[in-house]
Structure formats: C-alpha cells, structure tokens
Subunit: 489 residues, 2 copies
C-alpha cells in the first residue's frame, strides 16, 4: 500500500520545468495536396510545438487537413507507420492527423513530443489555396539546468560524445527521470540508477533523484517489493510487475545518492525499503541464480533475448548486497545477515565458474555470455587478476552471447575501468557510442547493436526510443574517469 508520507515528500520535490521557446524559420516551399516538408531542427527537443501556416492563392474555403510526424532520428520517417504491427502499442508513433479551420494561422499541438525532425504532409486543402510553413516554435521542457553543466576542453570527439550524452539525459529529465521522453515516459528503476550517476556529474539535480527514490518507496507492491517502474499519469501508481534486478538496484541508487549528497536523513528513512528488497530477493533466488520470476518478476539485465540470466541475477544480487552492507555500516545497523549472505552467495557464484572453459556458465545449457562475466566481476566474486583473465578470454571467444543495449554496455565499460583497463574502456566506449553518432543521431538510443543497428525487438523501429536515458553514461565516465583527457588532447 501507498506510503502517504513518502508520496508527500516525492510530491514536494516535483520540479518546476525550465521552459524555453525556440523559433525555427519555416520554408517558402509551397505544399500542395500530398506534398510534404521535413524540418531538421538540428538537435533533440522534448516539448510542445506550434506550427505557423501561411497560405497562397484565394481565401481558404475549406479546412486544412495535414499529417505531422515527429521523429528522433530521420530513419523513423521512412517507416510506413500503417505497416507497424509489433507488440508495442502503435499509439507510441508520434504521428497526428489534424484539421486546421482558420487559415492562415497557427496551431499549438496539445501533446508533448520528443523529436529532432518534423515532417508535415498536406492531406487536403482546396482548389482555392495551398499552404507553406511560416515557422515552427518549440516550447522545450526539461528539469535539467543547463547552467550547472561544466564543459571541458576535450578533443572534438570527446566533446561530441559528452554533448550527446548530456542532451540525452536533459531530454529525459522531466518531472521524473523518464526512461525515454518518446516512450514510455515512465520512471524505471534500472534507468534511474544510471541517470542519477550521470546527473551527479552534470546537471546536479539531486532533488530529482531523491524525488524518484521516494516515488518508488512510496508505491511498494505486495510485501513491500518495489516495482520496476512507476506510472505518472493520471496518477502516480506502481506498475504491478516487479523486476528482480530492478528492485535490487534501489539499494545501489540509494547508496549512490547518499555517497554523492551525504543526505543521511534520506538514507535513514529509505534504508528499511532497501533492506526489504534484500529480504524479499533472498528467498527468490537459488544457488544457481535461478529466480522465482512469478514472485520477484523477470530478470532484465539486457534486451538480448538469447541471454541466460541466471549468473547475471546472482551477480546483481551480490553487487546490491555489498552496497547494502555499506549503508548498514554507515547507519550502525546490524550487518551480520548481509555479510553472511554475501559470503554464502559468493561461494554459490564461484561454483558456476567452469574451470575448463575459464568462464562463468549460466543455466542448464551452461551458456557463456558477456553479461554473466561482467556481473560476476562487478560483484567482486572474483578478484581483479581473475577478472582480467576472464575478460581477455572473452574478447577472443567467438560465440559468447553479446549485448545489445547501451544499458548493458555501461556495465561493460564500468568493468573495464574497475579492472584498471581505463584506456580500453575509453576506446570501447567511443567505439560503441560513436556508432550512434555516425548514424547522425543527436541523442543516444534505447537499443544499439553495432552488428545490426536497426534490429528491433518490438517489430519496427518507428516505436523505438532514440533518446533513452540509460545510454547517457558517457558523460559520467568522461567526467569521473577521463577528466585528464582535457590536458592530453
């Protein structure tokens, strides 16, 4: 049941959005029926839009009927929306059909969009007149304060990587840290954790992190398990579907928040919620990392459908417990149960290491994947030396199951840094994220597989989120680990 006090705190922390009006010039191109024009606004925006129509010819004697589509990347516009029959609701396609009665004139569209491209296609005018676009006005909205961001004299490619990361985070910072402002426009715990890390290094809107922590803690599911995500409209409500790993990440997100802010009051208040996730998770995962998904919800880890998630789940569990332990110590709580569990589960985890293969193997089929190795190293189950050896082998292993989301890649970069392979981390980070930049994007994506850049687990890229917060962490890595690049380049 809802924790009224926590919800009240979350509500009090609701940010006032920074709103900025940006005028874009239109075009003199005359649009007859069936003709269209595409505007590239040069950057990604989240907000409302006004379109100013001019007319040529005689007095308009019938309404204008037009189609307008907003797109985050240009490829979305070449996708025939009517052919989309994927499993995500097609209502996410940012495409409208609109009548405008009074011409020449402006229309203020009532919905919020996430976009860099705007396509306007005229469906019907009348023999009396044609139209052209006099201008567009974007009412950009964000809870990110641009003035807080310190920029560095990095190389051009670092600055670009940083700018796009920051733009991605900025567009996702609304009344909460949204996962993606195009879709789902919701607060997800897994995304929040990474957004918060990037936020501390850039926009420093610590209250927004705090608000999101209270939103989760304020809307627990049965037995106090946290949901994977919170719906914001019409009223805040926890999604009734938890996720095993996301619930655990509440612990890490809270610990990161405290580490950054020193806000002990919040730590104390939310510690029981964090501890509860440990208690609930402990009974849902066995010694092989197999999770009782009926109770704890599915284990996400990455979008890759092939991935066997057992080893990753165990790694995430231990990883979270280590942050919980730090909290318990900070608050002078009894730590024994946590310590015992870490020790016991670490032994379980080590049993999943296949000496012959030299890898952690997951599930009955003993699958070897990148994510399994990464989470085992991040959890500290194996030491740096062994971790390095595993990674070395992994980079030569051809059929290991890979990663397809920036969310997964974040953990890969982090592991490289943790293992002291900073330069490799830097190279791999650029290699992966620069791929999206090379495709002309001004934000980073929910999904990106360099081997198959337009792959869609949803059945069509028109519903993809191309500004997805969990991909914003290069801004975090650059600032936290590569500030020295400022001098070098």
């Amino acid at each position: 049941m809802e924790n009224v006090e926590f919800c009240r705190k979350a509500d009090q922390l609701k940010p006032v959005l920074y709103k900025e009006e940006i005028d874009f010039p239109g075009s003199e191109k005359i649009l007859k029926e069936g003709e269209e024009i595409i505007f590239d606004l040069g950057n990604h925006y989240v907000g409302h839009v006004d379109i100013d129509f001019g007319t040529v010819g005689r007095h308009p004697d019938a309404p204008l009927y037009f189609e307008i589509q907003f797109a985050e990347i240009k490829e979305e516009l070449s996708y025939d929306s009517s052919s989309y029959h994927g499993w995500l609701s097609k209502s996410w396609i940012q495409q409208e059909y609109i009548h405008l009665d009074n011409l020449p004139g402006s229309i203020s569209l009532p919905r919020r969009y996430a976009f860099r491209y705007v396509r306007i296609r005229v469906l019907s005018t009348s023999p009396n007149y044609d139209v052209y676009i006099k201008g567009l006005r974007v009412h950009s909205e964000t809870s990110a304060d641009d003035k807080k961001v310190k920029r560095y004299s990095w190389s051009e490619k670092d600055r670009l990587l940083d700018d796009i990361s920051i733009r991605t985070l900025r567009s996702c910072m609304q009344e909460v840290f949204e996962d993606g402002p195009k879709r789902d426009r919701r607060l997800w715990l897994g995304d929040l954790r990474l957004q918060a890390l990037a936020n501390y290094e850039t926009f420093q809107n610590d209250d927004l992190v705090k608000r999101c922590l209270y939103l989760f803690a304020g809307h627990p599911l049965e037995e106090g398990r946290l949901s994977s995500n919170i719906f914001l409209y019409l009223e805040e409500e926890a999604d009734d579907q938890p996720m095993f790993d996301y619930a655990l990440f509440f612990i890490d997100t809270l610990w990161d928040y405290y580490s950054h802010t020193g806000d002990k009051e919040t730590l104390e208040e939310l510690y029981p919620t964090a501890y509860r996730q440990f208690v609930l998770s402990s009974s849902c995962i066995d010694e092989n990392g197999s999770v009782d998904e009926a109770k704890a919800g599915r284990v996400f880890v990455d979008w890759n459908f092939e991935l066997d998630r057992n080893v990753s789940a165990l790694g995430i569990y231990i990883y979270a417990l280590k942050d919980l332990l730090k909290m318990a110590r900070e608050l002078n709580k009894d730590t024994k149960a946590i310590e015992d569990e870490i020790a016991r589960r670490s032994l379980d985890a080590l049993k999943l290491y296949d000496e012959r293969e030299g890898f952690f193997v997951s599930g009955e089929k003993k699958q070897i994947s990148w994510m399994s190795q990464i989470w085992m190293i991040l959890s500290g189950v194996i030491d740096e030396e062994k971790g390095n050896a595993v990674l070395e082998r992994l980079s030569k292993r051809k059929n290991a199951v890979g990663m397809n989301s920036p969310y997964a890649y974040h953990h890969y970069i982090q592991v490289l840094i943790d293992l002291g392979r900073k330069e490799e981390a830097y190279q791999k980070m650029h290699e992966y994220w620069d791929g999206m930049i090379e495709r002309g994007s001004s934000t980073f994506w929910e999904l990106y597989d360099p081997k198959d850049p337009v792959a869609s687990p949803y059945g069509g890229l028109v519903v993809h989120s191309f500004c997805h917060a969990w991909s914003c962490t290069p801004a975090y890595f650059l600032r936290k680990y590569f500030k020295d690049k400022e001098i070098r380049d």
Copy 2:
C-alpha cells in the same frame, strides 16, 4: 474596397452565442482495439464536445489512439471516408484521429462540429487496458434564442415539420447566418434571404440579419458588386466570386428586413448598395436572360446541373427590381429608371413565352423547366390566371427539368401560395420535406431529390451538409400562411 464604417457596424452587431452544456450518458460497452460505438444524441447540435474515457484492466501504459467521427445523419457513418475523391475538399469530413495520453480521462476536442451521431472507434490501446465511454458532453452553440419561438397546437406532422425547420435554422445561426454549420460555415446571400424570412417568424434575431447585410455591404468587390458569400475566418473577406442572382437578392433581403423591422436608417444607408446591384446587373444580362458570367458571376437558381438558367435569371432580375422600386418609393427616390427597366425587361421576358408549348422556354434549346416557370410567375411578368394555367400544364408535363434543392422548392411553394393554391402548397411542402423526415433526419438538407435521395453533385454524401439553412422555410410558411391549421387539427 472595404467600407470601414459598414464593417464596424457589422462588428458591433456580432452576437454573443448562447452556450448550453448537455451531458449524455456513455456506455458500459468495453472497446478493444478495432471496436467502435455509435452514439445517437437524438437531435442535431452545433458546438464543441468532450469525451470522457474510462479504462478497464491494468494501469494504461501507452496512449489511447482513437478515431472519432461526427455525422449529421447516420448514412454518413457507413461511407468509407478514405474512398472520397469528390471535388469538395475532403477536409470537410468530420473525422479525427486522436491520441490521448492521460487515462482514464477526458478530452475536449478543439474544433466545432455539426452532428447528431458520434462514432468512436479504438485504434490502439495496449495489452494492459481497454476503454469504454463514460460520457459525452456537448457544448451547444447558437445565436438563436429558443425562448423567442412561439409554438402552435398544430397537428403532429405540422409540429414535426416545424420543429425540424427550426432546429435547422437554429444550428445555422452562429456569428452569422451560416449556410451549413458542417460546411461551408459561411455567409451566403442566397441562403441569408431565406434564413431571414424564417428568422422573423421564429427567433426574431433581427440584429443578426442587419449584421449580415452590413457584412455584405462592407465588403464589396470591384465596382461595388456584392460577393455571393463572405468568409469569416481568420478575417472577414468577400469571396472574389460573385453570383448574378445572389447579388440581386441583397435588394430583396434588405427590403424584407425593412418590411419586418421598419428600420429606416439601415434602409437609407444600404439603399445605394442595393441600387448599385441593379445598375451592375442591368449591363450584364441581355433580352434573353443570358448573363455575362465573366463579369457578374454564375447564375445559381438551383443545384440541378441540367437547368438552363436564362429565363430564371431574367425573372430574378425583375423580381429584385420590384423590391428595389418599393424601397425607392419608401425613400422618395427617383423611381423612373427602375420602372422603365422593369417595363422593358418584362416585355423581353414575355417574348420568351412559347405560345405553342404554353411555357417559358430558356436558352437556345428552348428548355422547359420548373424553375423558369416559377421565377416568371414570382416576378409578376404574367398574371395569376396565366400563372395558374402554366402551373397546371407543368404538373402534367413529363420531361420538364425539375428541382433538386430545398432552396428551389421554397420558390415553388411560394409560387403556389402567391397563386392562391394554399392547400396545394401545404401538401407539396409536406410531400417534399417529409421525405427527409422519413429518412430519420432531425434537420433539413442542402440537397434533396425525392427521386434520388442520395444523389451527390459532390461525389460522395460524406461531405454533404445535412443541416442547411435554405431548407428551413417550412417554419416560415407554416407561420405566415398556415397558422389557421392550429384550429383545424
């Protein structure tokens, strides 16, 4: 050029609309993707609409995408809008595609519609939820004051005919007398003349007639010729296409206005405009009724494309001149030029009477039509006895070109009354207008041919106006000529 003073007067007379909120219950019917519901609101409304959506299932996790269509008659809903390729702009189809982000919730549609039926079809929800319609709210808008209308204890069929006429007029009475609130939503002179007649007998909004007269006089075309119609949005502007007969009807509309109100100041002020139409028309019509349409615009008379309009044009010209003469006398102006023109043109007209046929014949093909006979009789070129003889012959003549609009039928009914054939007028009026009632309509139409009720000069009835002001005159006839019916039935 615009007459600033006249425009100012028109502007001062702009009515405040009567607004009424009417709540309609929704339905418990659950709408899944692809499913629809049709609401019959029982009467015709003009105004804005709110739709209140309820949801069932889990928390909505994607916007609702739905289609909504407003229809004046039910047949419109069975027409596939995408198949409409007629010559009227398809932007008149009252059909929208809308995303609603916040559910459950209400949406207030931004446009005004004219409708009795509302169809809502769900295009996309998500596996999480389905919707139902909790209710509809109509914000009805009109400049007609219902309290001004006197009702009579007529027979059921007279009351029905009267009610529907009044509803038609009411829906068309907005900031001007619109021709049709669905389409074109404009002020047309030919329609105004008949609306004004019905208005004097019912809503008595004399100022609205005055406003419309000043709007026409305030926006003359070249040389002072009046346009056939005035655009209202974004700014008032005369359509650059005059119509010969409509310009002349300014004279009659002004005279009717004065006859009803005794407002001599307006008569005096607008007499020069009326007189100017006579002067301009006189040079554009020859002795056979052939009009120089390049100068004076086309001659409308009726929607019937077969009709040869020469005789009708001459009849309308003489008819208008006779009202101009009454004005001139009332204002003690010199009447000689008008009298001479009436005499000369009446002689011309009589030459078009074919003694052998016993009809006025129009054009090179000597076409015999209802409208030619009707306008010759209305203009008084032939006397009552001869008029009666012509009508008798006409009713037996099989291949005479007929009428297909209530606008034309109005003149037929008027001619029957003028010739003392009141009972026949009453029967014919019912016969014609009752046909629309029998088709379930709660308003009268722009077009109605009893022999071919779904005929469309536009290439599809989905763009037809089924609430069209020029069809509202039964309320005028009943009150002006058939009040005695109150006693009889």
